[in-house]
C-alpha cells in the first residue's frame, strides 16, 4: 500500500476532508452566525451593515462547501452516496435553505418596501438557523450512527428519523457555536450603537453556547458508550478535549478585553478541536452502522482507488496554496469596518 510519511492514502484523504470541513465550519460559521443575529437588530441600517459585513466574503466562503463536497465524492464515494441518500430529507432542506439564504442576500436590499425587506429578513434568519441546525443534526447522526445494512443500504425511517434527541442537541450546540462565532466577527466589522448592542448579545451567546455544549458533553459521555473506550485505548488523545475546553474558556477572557480578533481565532480553534474530537472518536469509521459493525462505512471500504487518491492528493497539493493566496488577497482587500457605498447590498 502506498504511503506518504508512513500514512496510507485513505487516511491522508480523511485529513484532507476533515481540514476542508473545518475550513467550511470556520468560514461559513461566520456567515451563518452573522445571519442568525439578523432579527436581533431593529433598524434597517443595522441589518444592511450586518449583511454587508459578509457581503464580499460569503460567496468565497461557500467555496469550502463545494470543495468539501467534491472531496467527499472523489475520495470516499461510498460515504458521499450513502450519507446523502440516507439523510435525503435533511440534505434537501439544507440545499433549499442555501438557495433561500443566497436569494435573501441578493434581493433583500434591492427594493425599499417595508414588506419586501421584512419578508426577506425573516427568510434570511430562518435559512441561516436551519442550515446551522441541520449541519449539527448531520454531525449528530454521524456520531450516533444510522441503520445501515448490507451493501451500504440504509434501512431506517425516511422522514423524521434523523431527528434523534442527540442529533437535536448537536444541532442546537452548532447553532449556539455559530452565533457566538458570528457575533465576534460582526464586532470586528461594526461601530457605534450596533457595536454596543453586539457586545451585549455576544455575552448572551457565550452563555447559550457553554450551556448547550455542557449538556451535549454530558449526554455524549453517558449515552455514546464507545467514547470512554476510545480514550481508554488512546489516553494520549485526552489532549484534544482539554485543548477544546481551554480554547472555549479563553473566549470570554479575550472578549472581556475586547480582543475580538484573537477571540475569533479561538472560536475557530474551538470548532477545529471539536471536529478533531469527532474524527478521533470515529476513525477509521466514517459512518457507523447501528445494525452491525460489519456494515460500517470506513475510510477503507469507502475510499476511491489508490491511483485516484494519489491524483487527488496532487490536485489538493497544487490547489490548496492557490486558494490560500486568493483568500489572503480577498480578506486583506476587505479588512476593517463595513463602509457602505453604491455597490453595497
Amino acid at each position: 500500500m502506498a504511503t506518504i510519511l508512513g500514512i496510507d492514502y485513505p487516511t491522508l484523504w480523511f485529513f484532507v476532508v476533515g481540514f476542508l470541513f473545518s475550513g467550511y465550519a470556520i468560514l461559513e460559521g461566520l456567515d451563518y452566525g452573522a445571519g442568525m443575529w439578523h432579527l436581533f437588530f431593529q433598524k434597517d441600517e443595522s441589518r444592511r451593515i450586518a449583511i454587508n459585513a459578509i457581503g464580499p466574503l460569503w460567496d468565497a466562503n461557500q467555496v469550502w462547501l463545494v470543495i468539501g463536497g467534491g472531496a467527499l465524492f472523489a475520495g470516499f464515494p461510498v460515504l458521499y452516496a450513502t450519507m446523502l441518500s440516507a439523510m435525503y430529507v435533511p440534505f434537501m432542506l439544507f440545499l433549499a435553505m442555501l438557495v433561500f439564504r443566497s436569494s435573501a442576500i441578493k434581493f433583500r436590499s434591492a427594493e425599499p418596501m417595508l414588506w419586501w425587506r421584512k419578508t426577506w429578513d425573516i427568510l434570511y434568519f430562518i435559512s441561516n438557523l436551519m442550515i446551522s441546525f441541520l449541519l449539527g443534526v448531520v454531525l449528530g447522526n454521524l456520531i450516533e450512527g444510522i441503520e445501515l445494512k448490507e451493501n451500504f443500504v440504509y434501512d431506517g425511517g425516511v422522514f423524521l428519523s434523523f431527528l434523534s434527541p442527540y442529533a437535536i442537541l448537536t444541532g442546537i450546540t452548532t447553532v449556539a457555536l455559530f452565533m457566538m462565532h458570528g457575533a465576534i466577527f460582526l464586532l470586528l466589522k461594526t461601530e457605534g450603537r450596533l457595536y454596543a448592542k453586539l457586545t451585549f448579545l455576544l455575552r448572551r451567546s457565550i452563555v447559550f453556547f457553554i450551556l448547550s455544549f455542557s449538556i451535549l458533553s454530558v449526554y455524549t459521555i453517558v449515552f455514546i458508550e464507545s467514547v470512554a473506550d476510545r480514550f481508554r485505548e488512546f489516553p494520549l488523545f485526552f489532549v484534544l478535549p482539554i485543548l477544546a475546553l481551554l480554547s472555549i474558556a479563553n473566549i470570554p477572557r479575550l472578549v472581556s478585553k475586547h480582543k475580538y480578533f484573537q477571540g475569533l481565532i479561538f472560536s475557530s480553534l474551538t470548532m477545529s478541536f471539536l471536529l478533531m474530537l469527532v474524527a478521533f472518536q470515529l476513525f477509521p469509521v466514517l459512518l457507523l452502522s447501528t445494525i452491525s459493525p460489519e456494515y460500517n462505512i470506513t475510510i477503507y471500504n469507502a475510499a476511491s482507488s489508490e491511483k485516484s487518491l494519489g491524483i487527488m492528493l496532487t490536485i489538493a497539493a497544487i490547489g490548496t496554496p492557490l486558494i490560500f493566496i486568493y483568500f489572503l488577497f480577498l480578506y486583506n482587500t476587505f479588512k476593517g469596518k463595513v463602509i457602505m457605498d453604491d455597490d453595497s447590498y
Binding site: G69, M83, L84, V99, K106, F152, L322, D343
Partner: protein, 449 residues
C-alpha cells in the same frame, strides 16, 4: 410514478434551470473583460459605465448560478447513489478539481469585482474580472469533462462485479481527454459566448428601439456583434466535429437524432420532421443520404441505425431526441444568417437604421438559450438508456433507499423555489435594464484618473 422517473425528472428540471445561468456568466464575463479592457486601454468613460452596468446584471446571474449549482453537486449523492459509488473514483476527481481550480478562483475574485471598485486599483480590478471569467471557463471544462466521460468513457477499468462493480481510473489524462471532451468543451464554451453576446445585443437593441442610451449602445453593439458572428460560424464546425464523434462513439444516439432505424443503410438528413417510433418512420423534409454524406462524405455510405441495437440498449424517446437536436441545429443556422446579415449592414453603416433588425435582436437572447438547452437535452436523452455509456444503466443508477414520496417532496420543493427564483430573476433583470447604463457619481479611483 416510481423513484427512477421522479429522480430523472428532478435532475432534468434542476440541471435545466441551473443551465440558464452558467452560460450567461461565461458569455457576459467575456463581454465584461472586453468592456473593462477597452476602458483601461482607451480611458473612454462610456466603457466604464457599460462595465458597471453589466457587472450588476452579471452579479444576479452568477449568484443564481452558484446557488442552483451547489444543489447539483449534492444531487448525485442524494438521488443517484449507485451511480455515485460507481463513478466516484473518476467523476469525483473532476468535481474536486472544479472546486479547487475553478470555483475557488471565480468566487473569491467575485467579491473584489463587485465590491472592490474603491478598494483596489483599476488594473487589479481588471485582473479580478479576468480571474472570474477564467474561473467560469475552467468550471465548464471540468463539468463537461465529467459529463463527457459518461458519454465516452476512457482511461478506466471496471473492478468488481454486481453491486460492488466500480469504474476506477487507470490514466488520469486519458480520462480527462476522453474522446469527446475537447470538442464538447469547445462546443459548450461557444454556446456560452453566444448566450452572453446575444444578451448584450438584446438589451442594447431594446435601448436603440426606445431611443435611449444610444451612444453607449452603439459602443456595446460592436464587440457583441463581432463575438456573436465569429462564434455562430465556428459553432457550426464545432457542432459538426461533435456529430462526427457521436457517429463514431455513440451510433445509437446519432441514429436517434435523425430518426434512422434501418440497421445498415444510407441515412437521410432532415431539416425538420416527426418521428413515429412505433412505425419507425420519419415524416418531414429531408435530404436523402444527407447524414451519410456529412459523416462519410458519401451519400451512399451506410450509417448504423437504431435497429442494430436491442430495444433495451437504445434510446426510447427517439422523437424527443430528434426534435431537440433539430431545434438546436435550426437555431444555430438562424444565428449564422442573422449575424452575417447584421455584420453586412454594419459594414454598410446601415445596421442601426433598420428597426426590424433591432426588433429581432431585442428578442434574440432567447435563441442561444433555447439552443443550449435543446442541445443538452438531445445529448442526454440520446445517451439513454445508459448513465455511463455501455456500462451502467440509468435504471440501475438511482438511490434505492430513497422513496418516491421523498423525491416527490423534494421535486415540489424545488419546483416552488425555482419558480419564485425565476420570477425574482426576471423582475430584477427588468429593473436593472429599465434603470439603464447611466452615470454614477464619480467616487471611484477609476473615475478620478
Amino acid at each position: 410514478m416510481d423513484v427512477e422517473i421522479l429522480s430523472r425528472i428532478q435532475f432534468a428540471f434542476t440541471i435545466a434551470f441551473h443551465y440558464i445561468f452558467p452560460p450567461l456568466s461565461i458569455g457576459i464575463g467575456l463581454m465584461l473583460v472586453i468592456f473593462e479592457g477597452m476602458f483601461l486601454k482607451t480611458g473612454n468613460k462610456q466603457y466604464e459605465i457599460l462595465t458597471r452596468f453589466w457587472l450588476k446584471i452579471f452579479a444576479i446571474i452568477f449568484g443564481i448560478g452558484v446557488a442552483t449549482g451547489i444543489i447539483m453537486e449534492f444531487e448525485f449523492g442524494t438521488n443517484w447513489a449507485v451511480y455515485s459509488r460507481y463513478v466516484g473514483d473518476i467523476f469525483g476527481s473532476a468535481l474536486a478539481a472544479e472546486g479547487l481550480f475553478a470555483f475557488g478562483l471565480e468566487s473569491t475574485f467575485l467579491g473584489v469585482l463587485l465590491f472592490g471598485w474603491d478598494r483596489v486599483s483599476p488594473v487589479v480590478h481588471f485582473i479580478s474580472m479576468v480571474g472570474v471569467f477564467l474561473g467560469s471557463m475552467f468550471s465548464a471544462v471540468w463539468i463537461v469533462v465529467a459529463n463527457s466521460w459518461q458519454q465516452t468513457p476512457a482511461g478506466y477499468h471496471i473492478v468488481g462485479d454486481g453491486f460492488n462493480a466500480r469504474a476506477e481510473v487507470t490514466d488520469f489524462w486519458q480520462m480527462v481527454f476522453n474522446p469527446s471532451s475537447v470538442d464538447r468543451v469547445i462546443h459548450v464554451w461557444q454556446g456560452a459566448f453566444l448566450a452572453g453576446a446575444f444578451m448584450v445585443l438584446s438589451v442594447h437593441a431594446y435601448y436603440l428601439l426606445k431611443g435611449k442610451h444610444k451612444e453607449i449602445s452603439y459602443l456595446a453593439f460592436k464587440p457583441a456583434l463581432t463575438i456573436a458572428t465569429i462564434f455562430s460560424l465556428t459553432q457550426l464546425f464545432s457542432g459538426h466535429r461533435s456529430a462526427d464523434l457521436v457517429a463514431e462513439h455513440q451510433p445509437a444516439k446519432l441514429a436517434a437524432m435523425e430518426g434512422h432505424y434501418q440497421a445498415k443503410s444510407p441515412a437521410d438528413l432532415y431539416l425538420f420532421g416527426w418521428v413515429d417510433n412505433k412505425a419507425q418512420k420519419v415524416t418531414g423534409l429531408g435530404i436523402p443520404g444527407g447524414l451519410s454524406f456529412l459523416v462519410h462524405q458519401d451519400f451512399n455510405a451506410d450509417i448504423i441505425g437504431l435497429n442494430a441495437y436491442d430495444v433495451k440498449d437504445r434510446p426510447s424517446q427517439v422523437n424527443a431526441v430528434f426534435q431537440f437536436y433539430h431545434i438546436m441545429i435550426s437555431i444555430g443556422m438562424a444565428l449564422i444568417f442573422l449575424t452575417l446579415y447584421a455584420s453586412f449592414l454594419w459594414w454598410r453603416g446601415k445596421l442601426f437604421e433598420q428597426k426590424w433588425m433591432m426588433r429581432i435582436f431585442a428578442f434574440s437572447v432567447l435563441l442561444p438559450q433555447i439552443a443550449n438547452q435543446a442541445g443538452w437535452f438531445a445529448a442526454e436523452m440520446g445517451r439513454q438508456p445508459w448513465i455511463v455509456y455501455g456500462h451502467l444503466r440509468t435504471s440501475e443508477g438511482f438511490s434505492k433507499e430513497v422513496s418516491a414520496q421523498q423525491v416527490l417532496f423534494s421535486l415540489i420543493l424545488f419546483g416552488v423555489i425555482y419558480s419564485l427564483l425565476f420570477l425574482l430573476f426576471l423582475y430584477s433583470l427588468n429593473k436593472k435594464i429599465k434603470h439603464g447604463p447611466v452615470d454614477y457619481h464619480p467616487t471611484s479611483k477609476l473615475a478620478q484618473q
